[in-house]
């Protein structure tokens, strides 16, 4: 595991967080750190402990063990100071259903310490920024899922906090809204904020995060940039599709691969890990052709974060499972 940035550098840092709910261990010694002005991606499947980690860091949950500091303040000893520095967008909507979008933002601004006029101006500005001007004066219970997530994100930004926590900000969004949300998140960091983002989508972490902490069963099992994590996986993966099933094919591939050859049910598709992908497709087609085996398709895949996740946890990520 790569070393964590610590000391003055880290705006968000957790060391050995433990949290149990009865028999369930939600956090089992989780450590993480995010330097100022960066996006830390916390990646893991459902139930990995991501939400509990965010709740500890945002002063909602008191950990059973370990320590955490946000913006230099201990989350247990000085929650008020932490609350002054953070903005939160939780996974479940944490807004008032019976108020309008504008009233919600104004109320949060007032409770966050803004004066009435400032809170109103800020609400107006955020409604414009998140394309909610038309919906601004409608009650929240009439909002669509996408509008609600946007307002939830806006709610986290009202007081212009230097530290932001976004718990699965794009879960449940359609692909277009998702890409739009990514754009908004990038802008936030461009403004100088430090951001912690949880996600179960590997592409999202890959796309947004400067560093990624992979969490499984309440602990960090890997930490680094997307490139560093990808470099930790054994290598590329070869996939060959034959015209006809052929019993000699695995044997013919054996000299070029770095492990067992996996054969599909219909006997036409072969998969195997390989150490290097350079020039491999040509070599494989020639070898199979020499053995009299006709080939429909050859692909060499560079490792994706999905492969990383699989290699680290021994189980597929949500996206892989959904695709399978």
């Amino acid at each position: 595991m790569a070393s964590l940035p610590t000391g003055k550098d880290a705006v968000i840092e957790a060391h050995g967080l433990v949290k149990r709910f009865g028999e369930t261990v939600a956090l089992d010694g989780l450590s993480l750190a995010a330097p100022a002005g960066s996006i830390l991606g916390v990646l893991g499947p459902n139930g990995a402990g991501k939400t509990t980690a965010v709740r500890v860091l945002t002063t909602l949950t008191i950990p059973d063990g370990g320590t955490a500091r946000v913006a230099g303040h201990d989350v247990v000893r000085d929650p008020a100071a932490v609350q002054r520095a953070i903005g939160v967008t939780a996974q479940d909507a944490t807004l008032d259903e019976v108020l309008t979008g504008r009233q919600n933002l104004t109320m949060i601004g007032r409770l966050g310490g803004l004066r009435r006029a400032d809170a109103k101006a800020r609400a107006k500005e955020l409604l414009e920024r998140f394309d909610l001007v038309d919906a601004g004066d409608r009650l929240l219970r009439e909002y669509s899922g996408g509008m609600r997530r946007r307002l939830d994100l806006a709610a986290g930004l009202v007081t212009r906090p230097p530290v932001l926590f976004l718990d699965e900000p794009t879960t449940g969004l359609d692909p277009t809204s998702r890409v739009r949300m990514w754009g908004v998140i990038r802008e936030l960091v461009a403004d100088g904020a430090t951001l912690l983002l949880t996600t179960q989508y590997l592409d999202e972490a890959d796309e947004l995060a400067d560093r990624i902490v992979v969490v499984d069963h309440g602990r960090a099992i890997a930490d680094g940039t997307a490139a560093e994590l990808k470099a930790q996986t054994p290598g590329a993966r070869l996939e060959v599709t034959l015209t006809q099933p052929n019993a000699g094919a695995p044997g013919a591939l054996a000299p070029f691969v770095a492990g067992g050859v996996d054969l599909s049910h219909d006997g036409r598709r072969l998969r195997a890990p390989v150490t290097s992908g350079a020039g491999l497709a040509t070599t494989v087609v020639r070898a199979l052709d020499a053995a009299g085996i006709a080939v429909d398709d050859v692909q060499v895949h560079a490792p994706s974060l999905d492969d990383v996740f699989f290699a680290l946890t021994g189980h597929a990520s949500e996206t892989l499972e959904a695709a399978a």
């Binding site: 909602l60 609350q83 953070i86 949060i108 007032r110 409770l111 966050g112």
Partner: protein
């Protein structure tokens, strides 16, 4: 300052809710009119007051007691709704004075109680009720009621925090508050009740508050002939009751709230 502003913001928010929730609003607008007319014309026709006086003069203070006591359930329901929704987590991550959630709720419900009592009084006035002791004394009568209602809101806040959800808060609230309001001198003279009930009504805080208001309004108060201490000193008794309820339940609600919102 910070605390005052947070309380004001949340009080405003809760009032907005009441305005937008037809059921909650009808509890403090339609129901008081309906109850006043029903009790005066249906029950009133069969009630003979010991010591004389018309039923409508007697009933307005009792109807204030009935409506205000039962409307304090709104505190339990509102708080329970908040605690079971996501918005409470938002409040908890904001740098605000945390008890303002409770104080803002109780103040909004107090203002609602002012509206409710105004409606009862206006309805009563329209059908013949008159306060006979002057304006200041009448205001004192309403003050006694509102202080009691405010105290009751804190007891109901405890119920709201302990309950599993708004429906169960309402269910339990009804079971407690209706008997509290009804087993009293509010709507009928107690002289002909069975002995056990008479003792309960004499010591029921709702009876003290109602008797105090009747005295202050200058309306017929048949309880004045009852020997029990609270019936002989209804104003002092109702103030003592209100302060005692507040002193027990306000700290308790704060404690329960802190416990419920710590995980």
């Amino acid at each position: 300052m910070r605390a005052l502003r947070d309380v004001a913001v949340l009080t405003g928010r809760n009032l907005m809710h009441i305005r937008r929730e037809p059921l909650q609003l009808s509890d403090v607008t339609v129901q008081p009119v309906l109850f006043t007319l029903l009790f005066v014309y249906v029950f009133g026709s069969g009630v003979v007051l010991p010591g004389g006086g018309t039923y409508v003069e007697f009933a307005v203070a009792g109807l204030l007691a009935l409506n205000l006591t039962t409307s304090s359930m709104g505190t339990a329901v509102g708080l329970s709704t908040d605690l079971n929704g996501g918005v409470i987590d938002r409040f908890r991550t904001l740098p605000m004075w945390k008890p303002s959630v409770l104080v803002g709720r109780s103040l909004a419900d107090l203002l609602t109680a002012v509206l409710c009592s105004t409606i009862v009084a206006v309805t009563g006035y329209a059908i013949g009720w008159r306060p006979e002791n002057g304006f200041v004394s009448m205001l004192a009568g309403f003050g006694v009621f509102l202080l009691f209602t405010y105290a009751l809101c804190w007891a109901c806040a405890c119920l709201g925090i302990l309950s599993k959800g708004p429906e169960s808060a309402q269910g339990i609230g009804l079971v407690i508050l209706f008997p509290l309001a009804m087993v009293s001198n509010a709507l009928v003279p107690t002289q002909h009740m069975p002995a056990v009930l008479q003792t309960i009504t004499e010591w029921n805080p709702v009876s003290a508050v109602t008797a105090a208001a009747r005295d202050l309004f200058g309306n017929p108060n048949p309880s004045a002939t009852i020997d029990a201490w609270p019936m002989q000193h209804p104003v002092v008794a109702s103030l003592l009751w209100s302060v005692a309820i507040l002193a027990v339940f306000a700290p308790l609600a704060t404690l329960l709230y802190r416990r419920r919102t710590t995980d």
